[in-house]
Symmetry: C2
Subunit: 324 residues, 2 copies
């Protein structure tokens, strides 16, 4: 079973066919960066059209069991998530509404301070806000997973502590392998995984040691070391693949509507666009390379199967349903 727990491609029949070529059984797709509620619903509407247009390639994923169905039918189950809490605006009642519409992951922050927590680019990290505590409780109740990929350290550790259900870092790598601002320090990963949460390894070049030149061996060795340190059942893939997106989209991701000045995020004025992918992970067809690379590290078949999808499957099965 192969599950990629974060993609934001410029979706098309081509990309959906590549998911099938790569035997990807489920993908958690970002459907909102800075969109408000109504705009997020428009994005759900767009996905509904794709589900109608490509019924032989993709199905809507709501529960782990949808992955079994997708696998049996040779399709990919698509799970929705948000990289920012903007879709719930300032209304806690929207948490249940977006869950009903299919949302399964929501980041509490995207780089900046939000109504709920502090993002990883702010100078001061004040942790989880008053509304943040209420929203985490409501997310726990309905089965919407707290994602802290773009959050600051204290906020992430507090979220892991406050949340009564496991949380996730859907797409980031260990800071001690590659000290990017977005990669996560040991105490952060420890707080998340010790509370039952997961870390999804990112293939976004800015998160890789050496960027696009990172080797498959180096990447897989980092995965293996991290698995050994925090638990082989706590690690998965969250590739952050942004296939076929124009550079205007990375600008939207970084700047949204919050600034009139450009913010280059993990890029720079000299390299403002999407970076090129490593040649061993160009798109959905290349998950086999990662699986081969993980086997070559000496991990056993069960451990590799967990990291390639089994661990996310179990996490989905445990965390998407309303609290009994």
């Amino acid at each position: 079973m192969r599950i990629d727990n974060l993609q934001y491609a410029n979706w098309s029949e081509k990309v959906f066919r590549q998911m099938r070529e790569g035997s990807v059984d489920a993908v958690h797709v970002t459907i909102a960066y800075h969109e408000n509620f109504r705009e997020t619903v428009l994005n759900v509407e767009q996905w509904n059209r794709w589900f109608e247009q490509y019924p032989d390639l993709i199905i809507k994923g709501l529960w782990a069991s949808d992955i079994d169905r997708a696998k049996a039918e040779g399709k990919t189950a698509i799970f929705f998530g948000f990289q920012n809490p903007s879709p719930i605006e300032d209304d806690i009642g929207l948490v249940e509404i977006v869950h009903t519409l299919g949302a399964r992951f929501m980041q509490l922050t995207y780089n900046n301070q939000s109504l709920l927590a502090t993002g990883c680019y702010e100078a001061e990290d004040t942790g989880i806000t008053r509304m943040g505590r209420q929203v985490i409780k409501e997310m726990n109740r309905v089965g919407l997973v707290v994602d802290m990929s773009h959050s600051a350290d204290r906020s992430t550790i507090e979220a892991a502590d406050i949340s009564e259900r496991p949380i996730a870092i859907t797409h980031a790598n260990p800071h001690d392998w590659h000290p990017a601002l977005r990669n996560k320090r040991d105490d952060v990963i420890r707080a998340v995984t010790e509370a039952g949460g997961m870390l999804g390894f990112s293939l976004y070049p800015h998160h890789l040691k050496g960027g696009a030149d990172c080797t498959l061996n180096d990447f897989c060795a980092a995965v293996a070391r991290t698995a050994e340190r925090y638990g082989t059942d706590k690690i998965g893939i969250g590739s952050d693949l942004c296939q076929d997106q124009p550079d205007s989209v990375v600008e939207w991701m970084r700047v949204g509507r919050w600034s009139k000045e450009i913010d280059h995020g993990e890029g720079s004025a000299a390299a403002p666009g999407f970076p090129p992918q490593p040649d061993w992970f160009r798109d959905n067809r290349d998950f086999g390379n990662i699986e081969d690379g993980l086997r070559a590290t000496g991990m056993n078949a069960e451990e590799v199967a967990g990291i390639m999808g089994g661990n996310w499957y179990r996490f989905y099965a445990d965390n998407f349903s309303p609290k009994p």
Copy 2:
């Protein structure tokens, strides 16, 4: 089994308890008159809170099987509907979205011309519009039932013809029993029922012969005659009970935001508010009176059971799921 296919009470624990006292297993509740999409979502949020607050009294109804569950657990299943297409605004993509959020009936018009069809108070009835045809097709696809209770005759007959699935008049009575503007002529009821659709008998006094003074015997005799004429399996109850509502609400129902002048609808300047209910149907506790009255007409037990709920149950089972 007892199903009331239209209520718009001022919801409270008191009303939910009365549903249980009246052994009402399911109620189709109006959650939007003139609300736009976002306002309708706020109303869903309010219902979500009630489901959370009163789990021993009510559950959210999505499918006919939820009525079985409600009945087994001694609760009432609540199904959502709109009296106007305002919740989908001018966006056909919202049809599937509102169905996902639980909507199961949508009127194409409420008294006035809409984007989709003509209401029963307009001088000219131009039938189903261009957008109306597209929306009916989409409603058929996802399992959102076309309700023509407040629509004009030609529009209703055309909707019954265009729709590939049965449609409903959820709450109205035969015009030849009581010639109110909102009651339905023979050819309209015939078009709807011959296409497999249903008529829900209203207990709203303006729809009753003699108004609040209508007798139980007279009401039940009208139901029995109508059942004999169009089929005992095509008739149900849609009480239009607006319990505990202040008169400001009937003004909202009639005027919404479409007029600065007051429109009295079925009322008048002399009697602008909600009319009093007949003494044999004050609220949800009185469904037993109707059941007794129907038996007294000489209908057999099976026919009475169908009208009290079995017919709506079968209609729900056939029409709420997406088209295969």
